[in-house]
Symmetry: C2
Subunit: 295 residues, 2 copies
C-alpha cells in the first residue's frame, strides 16, 4: 500500500515508517524535517496545501505528527491546539481532497483522564485535563467526525507511552541513560512507584500496520503493552546495565497517575499483541543511546 | 466590574453585554465587528496581541466569540478548531498576561453527546461527535486547564440552545419567522418531534452575571431552561402569531437528538434560574424580526 507517515522523521513516526516498509508498504514521510532513511515530502500540518501535495497518490495516511512533548504543550496550549487539533483537521481535509482511502490516527491512552474503573477499555469516558491530552482527544474526535461527515475511513489508536531508540532527549528514558553514562546520579521524582505500560515503538508500528487493513472505520483501539514498569524499576534496570547512583526528589505537578489499560479489543479484533519485552526493548535503547555493548 | 465580552457584537454576546451593563458592570466588547451599542475593541481570537490589548485593565472576561454555526463548523472543521480551541487558548493566555482575575467560558449542552442517562447533569461523560461540539468542549477543557496550570479563575457555562432577538438568519427561528412573514410555507425537517430546552439570551446573560462573582474556579454549570419545545410546537407558535402553512420534509443528517438537561447545580450553587417563558421570548423575537405588533 502507498502510505504517508506524518511525523515520520520523529521518534515514534520513524519506527512506524520502518515497520511499514519492512512489511512491504511503499512509505513516504511527511514532516517538517527530512527523514534520514525514508523518502520525505516536507509538509506542515498548518499548511493544508503542503499536506495535499504530500498525500498525492497515497492510499493511506498514518497521522503521527503532533506536539507530543507534554511540557511544551503545557507551556504553549495554543500551539498544541494549533498542531494537534487544527493540524488533524487539515490532515483529514487533505486526505479527502487527495482521495486517500484510510487514515490511522495516533491517539493516546491519556485521553481517559482519572479512571472511573480499571482496566481502562475503549468504552471508558474520556475526561482529559492537560493541554496535551485535551488536544490529542479533540484531534481524534475531529478525525472520527470526518468518518461521519465525509465518509473518510478513519481508525484511531490510543497508544501506550511509547519507548525505543531515537527517543527525545527530554524523555525519562533518555535522561536516565544520559546521566548514568556520564557517571551522574539518577534522580527519581516522587516515590518512583508511578507505573506505566511502556509500549515499544516497534509494537506501535505493528499496530499501525494491522490497522491499515483491519482497523474498522470510526473505531478506536487501545494499543498498550501489558507489563507494568515503575519509574523506580526503570531506573534500577538502567543502573543494572550502566552502574549509577539513585536519589529521590519531590513529585512534579501534573504527573499522570498510574492506570491499567486493556488492549483486549485490539487483540480480538486486530490480532495485535505486544512482542517486545521491556527488558529487551530497554537493553536495545540503552545500547544505542549510550553506545555500549550490553552484557 | 470591568468586563470584556468577546463576541459581544454577535447575537448571544450582545445580549450578555446588555445584561451585564444593566447589572452595573463597565462593559467592553472585543469582536471582529463593531458593536452598535457597546464600546468595542476590534480583536481577533487568532491574534493574541489584539486580545491582550482588548483585555488591558479588565477584571474579567466573558468568552463567547466562536464559530457558533454548526453548519459552518461541519463545512470547515479546521476553522472551527482554530477559532474555538486555539482562540480559547489565546483568550486564556491574554487573560493571564493582562492580570484578568476571572474568565467565564461559553460552552454548550451539546458537549455531552449521546445520553447514557437523563437528565444530563455536569457529571455525565462528554462524548461529542460533531466539529462544533468537539471544538467547544476542547475549548472548555483548555480553559479549565489554565486554572490548573496558571491559576487562572475559570468557570464554564454549558448553555442550552439560545434564542432571542438578533438571531442569525440561518437559525430555525429566523427561517420560520421570515418564511411566515413572506407568506411562504414553513418546512419542518423530520417529524418535528425533536425537542430543545430553548434558553432565552437574557437568561444566559444573567447566568454570566452571577458566574462572574459566584462561579467556582474550575467548575462547570449547565445553564438550560426547563421547558421542552418541539420544532413542531415552535412552528405552530410562529404560525399562531403570523398565519402560514406547515409542511414536513426528510430529516437532516447529524441532527442532535432530544435530551433532557438539568440545571440543578446552577440553581443550587449560583441561584440562577430561567425567567423568560418560551411564549414571552418567542413573541418578542417574532415582533422584532417581523416588525409586527403581536396580539
Amino acid at each position: 500500500m502507498r502510505v504517508v507517515v506524518t511525523g515520520g522523521a520523529g521518534f515514534l513516526g520513524s519506527h512506524v515508517a520502518d515497520v511499514l516498509r519492512a512489511s512491504g508498504h511503499d512509505v513516504t514521510v511527511a514532516d517538517l524535517q527530512m527523514s534520514p532513511t525514508h523518502r520525505t515530502v516536507v509538509a506542515d500540518l498548518i499548511d493544508v496545501s503542503s499536506l495535499t501535495t504530500a498525500f498525492a497518490g497515497a492510499e493511506a495516511v498514518c497521522h503521527l505528527a503532533a506536539v507530543g512533548d507534554v511540557y511544551l504543550a503545557a507551556e504553549r496550549p495554543a500551539l498544541a491546539a494549533e498542531v494537534n487539533v487544527v493540524g488533524t483537521a487539515n490532515v483529514c481535509q487533505a486526505a479527502v481532497a487527495s482521495a486517500v482511502r484510510k487514515v490511522v490516527y495516533a491517539s493516546t491512552w491519556e485521553v481517559y483522564g482519572q479512571p472511573k474503573y480499571q482496566p481502562l477499555d475503549e468504552e471508558h469516558p474520556c475526561a482529559p485535563d492537560h493541554p496535551y491530552n485535551i488536544t490529542k482527544l479533540a484531534g481524534e474526535q475531529i478525525a472520527l467526525a470526518y468518518h461521519q461527515l465525509r465518509e473518510l475511513d478513519v481508525t484511531a489508536l490510543r497508544l501506550g507511552t511509547a519507548y525505543g531508540t531515537r527517543m527525545r532527549p527530554n524523555s525519562v528514558f533518555s535522561i536516565f541513560v544520559d546521566r548514568a553514562s556520564r557517571g551522574d546520579t539518577i534522580t527519581i521524582q516522587g516515590t518512583g512507584e508511578q507505573a506505566r505500560q511502556f509500549t515499544h515503538a516497534r509494537d506501535v508500528g505493528r499496530a499501525f500496520d494491522v490497522a491499515l487493513t483491519q482497523g474498522a472505520a470510526g473505531r478506536v483501539y487501545n494499543i498498550v503493552a501489558d507489563e507494568f514498569i515503575t519509574i523506580r524499576k526503570l531506573a534500577e534496570l538502567v543502573t543494572s546495565i550502566i552502574p549509577a547512583r539513585l536519589e529521590f526528589a519531590p513529585a512534579r505537578k501534573a504527573d499522570v497517575p498510574t492506570a491499567h489499560v486493556s488492549s483486549a479489543r485490539a487483540r480480538k479484533e486486530l490480532g495485535w499483541e505486544p512482542t517486545v519485552s521491556f527488558d529487551q526493548g530497554l537493553r536495545e535503547l540503552v545500547q544505542a543511546r549510550a553506545g555500549l555493548t550490553t552484557s
